[in-house]
Symmetry: C2
Subunit: 220 residues, 2 copies
């Protein structure tokens, strides 16, 4: 079991008992989603934007247009941070103060480099698509040179990271427990609805296994 | 219908045809969630963290501990930006290049001030709780002075904003339409599961109307 080294940068201060530095647990959080929030500096302002990502080992891949303002700013800064959060439940306590949510959240601090090597760039783009829906890439029309050359791919190598996980019920003051106030947990899930085929799809093409599997795994 | 003024800061460059500056549409995006990603600078690094928020008119409220590193950094910077995104669908195209998602995303650029006035602070905290689940605050044990004084509340007044909305189907190259590749849309929803009452709840307390309503509105 390996863990990320803690420093001023990634050490969780608020709610430290919920802090996680374990690499495998953090990878599980990363692999449970495919949209992360990436922070960048624009004229001294910290802006964050949602980005699709994929992961291979300790590397995260982003992609976008060659002119993407955020990607170019990250490349210039040579470093980035990204946060991913999954909301798991609303925690409805007897006081406003103890209202909370259950969640799994990870924040990564990474270096940034541009992926130029053709094989690595293709592997990164495959990884981003397959991260969204496993097994998709190999069923697709291969990239052409125009698409390939028109796409900027960045590699974020994780330098350090931290996560926070809350997965317990209502934690109220003892003195509040007898109050006539309902308290409890409302679980929250992100689910997939039935896939809808493109109206232009030739009639004989059936829903492929990877789409059926994705739906079965993610339906309500 | 009012719209936010565009400048270098908030003008959407990539995918400009999906850009939205309309105040009402942006408010709808804000009101469809209660967790936003707030960017801040820490030693020159742009970090973003998920925060619960509430909205009253053009003001967003955040809260946290008096020692919260991010909130204190925002207060010092006197400005902030926040991004909220709702994922609505996976767009599975015939090429990797045209894979996409449907989403509603808003990025706000705001001033930051500390809320000190007692009535305003209480209104802000009520707004945050009711933003998570409408009608909750008035059923709760009122805040005590210790909780009240131990909570830092920041007001983010929206100076400008932009949003992006994608809500269409697969957009493939014409030359790819006859390929034997499945293409389509997988709708994604965030849903609530059945509320689970706190095991310590006195038996006679029934699930209140606001919890039932939330569940009915958000169930799969």
């Amino acid at each position: 079991m390996s863990t990320y080294t803690t420093s001023e940068l990634n050490q969780v201060k608020r709610g430290a008992k919920r802090a996680v530095y374990d690499v495998e647990q953090i990878n599980n959080i990363l692999d449970a989603g495919f949209v992360g929030y990436v922070g960048y500096n624009y004229n001294g302002k910290a802006i964050c934007l949602p980005m699709a990502y994929g992961r291979i080992d300790n590397k995260i891949y982003l992609h976008g247009s060659l002119k993407n303002r955020m990607l170019l700013a990250l490349l210039e800064a040579k470093e980035a941070s990204m946060t991913i959060m999954h909301l798991d439940a609303l925690i409805l306590a007897r006081s406003g103060f103890h209202h909370s949510v259950n969640y799994r959240s990870a924040t990564l601090f990474t270096s940034i480099t541009k992926v130029e090597n053709r094989a690595e760039k293709e592997a990164a783009l495959k990884c981003v698509v397959d991260h969204m829906i496993p097994g998709r890439w190999d069923t697709l029309r291969p990239m052409n040179l125009k698409e390939f050359n028109g796409t900027l791919v960045l590699e974020m190598e994780i330098q350090t990271a931290s996560a926070k996980i809350r997965d317990v019920g209502v934690l109220d003051e003892k003195s509040d427990l007898d109050l006539p106030i309902w308290a409890g947990v409302i679980p929250i899930r992100q689910v997939a609805k039935l896939p809808v085929k493109d109206p232009l799809l030739p009639k004989q093409i059936r829903t492929p296994k990877h789409v059926v599997l994705y739906y079965k795994k993610n339906k309500a």
